[in-house]
């Protein structure tokens, strides 16, 4: 049984049919990437998983449990963490407070404090910015914060929506190193990316989304070698 399972999921915005029967599975311990052009429906897929949007048709299961109609704050409690598109840093909370909110569901204060310490070892830059307001961080720092914050609740799976967007190449490398490290420590990751080259290099498996449908899926290496993918997404 897969950890996360989307079965023939249809997502709508009003009358706009954004996802047309998408099926995706993510197994425990995997890094799975979802790639596709702008407007393909990647963010929509993550919104459906995290409960911000509910499917009109189809089922979503996490660890065997139906999460199709669950509210977002309950989805998180199942063990699904999120690094949202555009980072979603709370602009007028400090870096530390942002991290504390990432650990909102954790009752034990010591546990939260340890989580923050861990975040600071992962991204030492955040430690320097500890008492600075989130809105005053640079884009790269905000991405670090969003990533670290997503880990605070100790999720079994972390959903990441374009963590490399708008970052300088060094920072992109750093974020992907962190993804590798997290995965090595046992966190399952579903990674949405425009940067297909990088995404395919860290992922075990990949899905290619095109105007709301999965057009290709398989092992990351195989997808990377696909003729159409190379042309469309890797610019080769």
């Amino acid at each position: 049984m897969s950890l996360l399972e989307l079965h023939e999921v249809h997502g709508y915005y009003g009358n706009i049919h954004a996802l047309k029967g998408v099926s995706i599975t993510v197994d425990e311990g995997e890094v799975v990437t979802l790639i596709g052009a702008n407007g393909a429906g990647k963010t929509t897929t993550l919104r459906l998983i995290s409960g911000l949007l509910h499917p009109k048709k189809g089922k979503l299961r996490f660890d065997g449990k139906d999460i199709s109609t669950m509210a977002p704050h309950m989805v998180l409690r199942q063990g699904i963490g999120m690094v949202p598109e555009g980072r979603g840093v709370f602009p007028r909370l400090t870096v530390r407070e942002n991290l504390e909110m990432g650990g909102f569901i954790i009752k034990d204060k010591n546990d939260v404090r340890k989580g923050i310490e861990y975040a600071f070892t992962l991204f030492p830059r955040l430690k320097e910015r500890e008492n600075q307001k989130g809105g005053t961080l640079s884009g790269g720092e905000q991405q670090m914060l969003a990533t670290a914050r997503g880990l605070m609740s100790h999720p079994r799976i972390l959903l990441m929506d374009e963590p490399s967007m708008g970052l300088a190449p060094v920072l992109v490398d750093q974020i992907f190193d962190v993804i590798r490290e997290l995965n090595a420590q046992g966190t399952t990751i579903l990674l949405v990316e425009q940067n297909a080259l990088m995404a395919l290099s860290v992922a075990h498996r990949a899905y290619v989304l095109q105007t709301g449908s999965i057009v290709l899926s398989g092992k990351a290496v195989d997808v990377a070698n696909d003729e159409n993918v190379r042309k469309a997404y890797l610019g080769l």
Partner: protein, 391 residues
């Protein structure tokens, strides 16, 4: 570590206290300076001559002599406005919507508190209560009013606002105005059915009506005695305690941080596992409780209440919130204190300076002039960030 946490908590208590003191002193000094300048310019005017005749002192002396009392009254009023303004600003912070029915939350608090005291009075316990006992009954009245107002506020959000959460911005606003009128009539109906009257008077008890003489100012005429009513002290102390407590909740506790998260980004807050609806309910609960307590304090100070008692204080507190920067808690404090001072100054001096042509009954004009000026020239308020229209 524990030590650091303790000092952090202490900071969250001392900081707002310091701010309040600063605002009181600052606003007081500013208005005093303006008044002094006006009095200086008015020397030799008709008003000056009239005062020399009637009070045996010039307008400058008169203005200065009145000042301490005016400042004390302004501060009292200011803290009441601040406590109400916080209800508007907190709800605005999380929902970007002005809860016009907050004035009725205030009125409900006033009525519940007063009815509780009247009931206790009938039982005879109020008159029998010693000095300590009378304070205990006041605290009880505050507690009962806070529970009632907080619950009504939560209920109001649940039934009249939440179903409209995703409607255009004007829709919940209209609903709020409707709720406001409806609640006014509910109070009126309940009062007329149960007591046969529309207005109620808070029973006299304890030493609240006594005055503590502070000092007396020698003048050319009769010396001016400066004193403070015990109930004014009670109002100030109670309001300050509540404002500090609220500040502590919002800034230093986990649920307070959750409130701020929801205010800043509701979607992301939900993704962090924060139950957004629960947090919004909680915001209405504490904003409502604060408004209800302000109602009791207002009744204590002004003794008589009617079902429309919330309207004027509500409008002024709303003005205070806008003046300070709506959505900003510190701003509500500053705005409330400024408005209280302004009203006290206008009430005290308007008649004298205009030789009775405009009496203190015109004092409210100033509050609303301020509202208009702020909206035109600095819609974000004194401490507010740029008002950004949310898409």
């Amino acid at each position: 570590m524990r030590k650091i946490l303790a000092s952090e908590a202490l900071r969250e208590i001392l900081l707002p206290l310091g701010r309040m003191a600063l605002f009181v002193v600052g606003a007081g000094a500013l208005f005093s300076a303006i008044m002094f300048a006006l009095a200086f310019l008015a020397q030799g005017s008709g008003a000056d001559k009239l005062l020399l005749e009637t009070h045996k002192m010039g307008i400058l002396e008169y203005t200065l002599g009145q000042l301490p009392q005016v400042l004390i009254d302004g501060m009292t009023l200011g803290f009441v406005y601040a406590a109400i303004a916080l209800g508007y600003t907190m709800v605005y912070g999380v929902l970007e919507f002005i809860n016009f029915a907050h004035s009725e939350i205030f009125a409900i608090g006033a009525f519940v508190g007063v009815e509780f005291l009247i009931f206790m009075d009938r039982l005879g316990v109020l008159a029998a209560a010693g000095p300590l006992g009378s304070y205990m009954y006041l605290v009880l009245a505050l507690a009962v009013a806070m529970i009632a107002s907080g619950s009504v506020a939560v209920l109001m959000e649940r039934t009249a606002y939440r179903p409209l959460r995703n409607s255009p911005r004007l829709v919940p606003l209209i609903s709020a105005i409707g709720v406001s009128f409806a609640l006014q009539d509910v109070i009126r109906m309940v009062e007329s059915l149960t007591t046969g009257q529309f207005y109620r008077v808070i029973p006299t008890f304890g030493n609240f009506d006594e005055r503590v003489a502070l000092f007396s100012i020698p003048t050319g005429g009769a010396p001016i005695a400066v004193n403070i009513q015990v109930k004014s002290i009670v109002v100030i102390v109670a309001a300050v305690l509540m404002l500090v407590a609220l500040n502590y909740i919002v800034n230093a506790t986990k649920i307070g941080k959750a409130i701020r998260s929801v205010a800043q980004d509701r979607t992301t807050a939900a993704l962090m596992g924060i139950g957004v609806n629960g947090i919004i309910s909680f915001t209405f609960l504490i904003g409502g409780a604060l408004g209800g307590a302000a109602g009791v304090l207002y009744a204590l100070k002004f003794t008589r209440i009617d079902p429309f008692v919330g309207f004027m204080p509500g409008m002024k507190a709303f003005t205070a919130a806008v003046l300070g920067g709506i959505g900003n808690l510190t701003g509500a404090l500053l705005g409330g204190i400024c408005l209280g001072m302004l009203e006290s100054f206008a009430g005290a001096y308007l008649g004298t300076f205009t030789m009775g042509r405009f009496g203190s009954e015109y004092k409210d004009i100033f509050a609303f002039l301020i509202l208009i000026i702020v909206i035109i020239f600095k819609p974000s308020g004194l401490l507010g960030e740029q008002v950004s229209q949310k898409a």
